[in-house]
């Protein structure tokens, strides 16, 4: 399996589980934004949006910079890449395992191997 660290993988997957949070990430993928600008785009309270943003911050997906009264948010895509690696790594892992299983079984049972027709 790969080398990537995934201490925060649960948090990243958790962030991906909610449509509002995905929408916030999509908004931030377009450009950095103030918290109030993000909140204006959703039909829910500023307080609710803030909770979603905090969860994204905990997952390391969103960074916050405070300038005076304004809180600027930006997207950090790296944890997403690590989470996507989960799929890549396991596809490779299980593909390798099934190939090894085929080798093992067809060597052990050579007669069944010859019966296959295409």
């Amino acid at each position: 399996m790969g080398e990537y660290r995934n201490a925060g993988l649960d948090a990243v997957f958790g962030a991906a589980a909610d449509s509002t949070r995905r929408a916030i990430l999509t908004r931030l993928a377009a450009s950095d934004a103030r918290v109030t600008e993000i909140a204006a785009g959703f039909p829910i309270s500023l307080n609710s949006v803030s909770k979603h943003i905090r969860m994204l911050e905990r997952a390391g997906l969103v960074r916050r910079e405070i300038v005076g009264r304004d809180h600027y948010l930006s997207l950090n895509a790296r944890p997403l890449a690590e989470a996507a690696d989960w799929i890549t790594e396991y596809r490779r892992f299980w593909t390798g395992k099934l190939a090894a299983l085929e080798d093992f079984v067809t060597q052990k049972h050579p007669t069944t191997g010859k019966r296959k027709k295409r």
Binding site: G14, A17, T26, W86, A100, T106, H109, R115
Partner: protein
């Protein structure tokens, strides 16, 4: 719509389903084929019954990696379901389902591995993991355009 990341791998193998199925639950067989790329030796311990546990320790040049889990369903020779824990799969269980479909002259194996990072997450089926992968692709495009 998948909330959790899922990997599906298929392979058609010219062997009877029962032979393939048994290779998953036999320690001597697993020692031979359950070897990831740079693994030198795999230590296999298993209790092949529903609720029974297994431990595959993959000894690599960089250290030993334990993979553990519990058998959830054992329906010989059609379906095998077990949880899967490894240092590379997050800290909680993921779930592997292996289905064996008889074909003329062989068997198709369909393996599905679902990430189940947490119970709350698995319960929160509000959208798609695929959206996040698409979002990631978009941010990489943007980074390339900017760079």
């Amino acid at each position: 719509m998948n909330t959790v990341p899922t990997v599906t791998v298929r392979r058609e193998i010219a062997a009877p389903a029962a032979v393939l199925f048994d290779a998953w639950l036999d320690a001597a067989s697993l020692t031979v084929w359950m070897l990831p790329g740079d693994t030198q030796r795999t230590g296999i311990k298993l209790d092949p019954r529903v609720g029974g546990a297994f431990e595959f320790v993959m000894h690599t040049p960089k250290g030993s990696i334990p993979h553990t889990g519990t058998y959830r369903e054992i329906t010989r020779p059609r379906r095998l379901v077990f949880t899967w824990n490894s240092p590379y799969a997050g800290q909680t269980d993921s779930l592997v389902t292996v289905e064996f479909r008889a074909l003329r002259g062989g068997t198709e194996i369909v393996l599905t591995h679902e990430g189940l990072p947490s119970a709350e997450m698995a319960a929160a089926h509000n959208g798609g993991w695929s959206d996040i992968v698409a979002l990631l692709a978009a941010t990489q495009e943007k980074a390339r355009a900017a760079g």
